[in-house]
């Protein structure tokens, strides 16, 4: 299994590098002048030329990409100018490996920017995934067990109605009623665990987490329901009943284990994609997560930050897939990794 994971990691790293190359090429193929965006609107042509040189935009794409890859491995300095370093070391920004780049727009390394934004998105994703799994799976199981009844139709119908509402509506709805009108919760704002402890962290994440979870709830209810029903129709369920097991044991021990396995894949992929940022939810609740960083850097043509986000988000997805595959092998003895 470890050999398998190692092989997958190697392939994943190569995939990531290819991803960055594609991003580089796409950006440089666009008609916009990178240096002008990086320097700012008031820059003279001369200043732009200096910026271009300082950031390496004068070099061909593949060379820039090479520098980026090298920076990932060994770290970089911005601007890469030995003379400037001698005369004015205070102008040089160090960027340790794995260096994702330097955002001239923000005057910060990309590592710093992502380091600030990622915990917000990760926290949000964790709370959301716990909420939607807890409610989605249990409601799905209930709906499957009482298939065809009013409760079943109610659960499926209600979650579908919720699904039909756009995220920003749900978010604004929660803010307006739960926070402003009824005053149940304080206005949420991100507080890290280190700053405010777990309770505070969770309290602030409850509303945005719920908003995000509701989006996924409907599909998880329906999938769980379908998988449980399918599993209940399997021959081995008949065998379990023929043994004289109680219906509770048949359901929980025999049906659910097989039914919930496919959910691992879905959860892994959905969770990973959320780590790259939940753009709308972050906007509604004014959380400075990866989603907001993505929007800001795209609007500012902040190429280094965008590439950094691509790498990090891509890495999350690849890692999640490897973890899902390993989970599968642990759950299902028929799956042999190799």
């Amino acid at each position: 299994m470890w050999a398998y994971a190692a092989r997958r990691v190697v392939i994943g790293v190569m995939l990531l590098l290819a991803l960055t190359l594609v991003t580089f090429v796409l950006f440089f193929a666009s008609p916009a002048d990178q240096a002008r965006h990086a320097c700012g609107k008031q820059c003279t042509d001369e200043q732009i030329a200096v910026t271009e040189k300082a950031l390496g935009y004068d070099k061909p794409v593949y060379e820039q990409w090479g520098m980026f890859v090298k920076g990932l491995a060994t770290g970089r300095e911005f601007p890469a100018d030995p003379e400037l370093k001698k005369t004015h070391p205070e102008f040089i920004t160090d960027c340790d490996a794995p260096c994702l780049g330097y955002s001239k727009t923000n005057g910060k390394t990309v590592n710093y920017l992502i380091g600030k934004a990622a915990p917000v998105s990760v926290s949000l994703a964790v709370v959301a995934v716990v909420l939607w799994l807890a409610f989605g799976v249990s409601l799905g199981i209930i709906a499957a067990v009482v298939k065809g009844s009013i409760i079943d139709r109610g659960i499926v119908g209600l979650t579908l109605i919720i699904y039909a509402f756009p995220t920003f509506f749900l978010g604004v709805f929660f803010l307006k009623f739960v926070v402003v009108k009824w005053g149940i919760l304080a206005y949420p704002g991100y507080v890290s665990i280190a700053e405010g402890g777990v309770a505070n962290w969770l309290n602030n994440l409850l509303l945005p987490g719920m908003t995000l979870a509701l989006v996924f709830l409907a599909s998880y209810v329906r999938m769980t329901r379908a998988f449980v029903l399918e599993s209940l129709g399997e021959d081995y369920i008949r065998t379990a009943r023929a043994k004289g097991l109680t219906s509770r044991r048949v359901l929980f021990k025999h049906a659910l284990r097989a039914a919930l396995t496919p959910l691992v894949t879905m959860t892994g992929i959905d969770f990973a994609s959320l780590l790259g940022g939940a753009i709308i939810t972050e906007q509604v609740f004014a959380y400075n997560g990866m989603g907001k960083l993505t929007v800001d850097s795209s609007q500012a043509w902040d190429l280094p930050t965008i590439i950094g986000i691509v790498v990090v988000a891509g890495a999350f997805v690849i890692l999640a897939n490897i973890i899902v595959d390993i989970c599968y092998a642990l759950i299902d003895p028929r799956v042999r990794l190799g």
Binding site: R238, K243, G244, A258, P333, R334
Partner: protein, 351 residues
């Protein structure tokens, strides 16, 4: 109350309510079976042979099935039992093995674990004790290295080994009735021979009554004491195997015999099929269900076959033990003169 026989099924009906109407999967089915004996139930898909046996197991509880009649097992009418009472009998007094052992075993649990579960649900014993018992059973059904195989998963077993494991699971509580639903259909012939041998050996050892559900008349001939031929949810011929298969009196049974050539017989027998398709169990016509496919119904005077369902009555040969559901006045003669000669020459030669 019927105490004469160990198992006595009386006028069993299993009906399913569907959007299109009532599906009469099994209707008016009666038979008896004693300990240590085997009943072979023969029929094609949709004949009701599996549905009726699942009803004995109480496996239709919680579905839309409407079950009527009596199933006396050792003096108790199983159909009057509450679900918890029935559950206590399932797997203990009545056990079942299925057609496809791969799908009948849970893929995520070890074979040993699944068999031990069957034991522990009816016996309050420790895991360790259960493991010992399971290993004994695995050895009994001929699985090599049972200690090691206990921890194997179903997919690591071969088809024959899986069915052996299913048999071990079914017999671990020493049930008095075993329902084997096409136990060898999914297996290769050489493996089928092994499994049938094993079942016979274990039946002697445990004195189990076996209901063997199959479509293979050869299996019935070799395994069963009594044969029950089902068509469209009803018994059409019932009696001792030596009677039913050597002096069949119902055209459907003739058709079954003639459509499967015997490997050991002459190489030049024609293969005579039963024309047409299996009937619908919805809105059954009033007459004999087999009439639309019956090549002999013209020998019955008038429209009798189309209008009146024949009763299951003692035939002309073999006395009161051999029952047939057919209007033909002289089936024995027709079989001798028209069917046996053209269709199964080996049988007529033997006589």
């Amino acid at each position: 109350m019927n105490n004469e026989h160990f198992l006595s099924v009386n006028d069993l009906q299993v009906h399913f309510k569907t959007a299109d109407g009532i599906v009469k999967a099994t209707d008016g089915l009666s038979y008896t079976l004693d300990r240590g004996k085997t009943l072979g139930i023969v029929g094609e898909s949709g004949s009701g042979k599996s549905v009726s046996s699942s009803a004995i197991m109480g496996l239709h509880q919680g579905t839309s099935a409407r079950i009527e009649g009596n199933v006396w097992l050792d003096g108790v009418d199983l159909l009057t039992l509450s679900p918890p009472e029935m559950r206590k009998l399932r797997g203990k007094e009545i056990a079942m093995i299925f057609q496809d052992p791969l799908s009948a075993l849970h893929p995520y649990y070890t074979v040993g674990h699944q068999i031990a579960e069957a034991y522990r649900v009816h016996n309050a014993v420790s895991k360790k004790h259960a493991r010992k018992k399971v290993v004994e059973m695995l050895e009994l059904v001929g699985i090599p290295q049972p200690e090691r195989r206990f921890d194997g998963y179903p997919h690591e077993y071969s088809g024959g080994m899986r069915q052996r494991a299913m048999i071990a699971m079914a017999l671990i509580n020493d049930p008095s009735l075993l329902i084997a639903d096409e136990p060898t259909t999914a297996l290769d012939v050489t493996v089928q021979a092994q499994i049938l041998d094993l079942l016979q050996k274990l039946q002697k050892e445990f004195n189990t009554a076996i209901i063997m559900i199959t479509h293979d008349l050869g299996v019935v001939a070799e395994m069963a004491d009594d044969a029950l031929v089902m068509y469209a949810g009803r018994a059409v011929e019932y009696g001792p195997v030596s009677e039913v298969l050597t002096h069949p009196e119902m055209p459907y049974t003739w058709g079954l015999l003639s459509s499967v050539p015997d490997v050991t017989a002459d190489t030049d027998i024609p293969m005579v099929p039963i024309p047409g398709n299996p009937p619908s169990l919805l809105n059954q016509p009033p007459g004999c269900a087999f009439q639309p496919r019956c090549v002999h119904s013209s020998k019955v005077p008038g429209d009798l076959c189309k209008t009146t369902m024949p009763d299951l009555l003692p035939g002309s040969h073999g006395g009161s033990g051999h029952l047939t559901r057919c209007h033909l006045p002289n089936p024995e003669l027709i079989y001798e003169t028209e069917v046996a000669h053209d269709v199964t020459p080996t049988q007529s030669e033997e006589r």
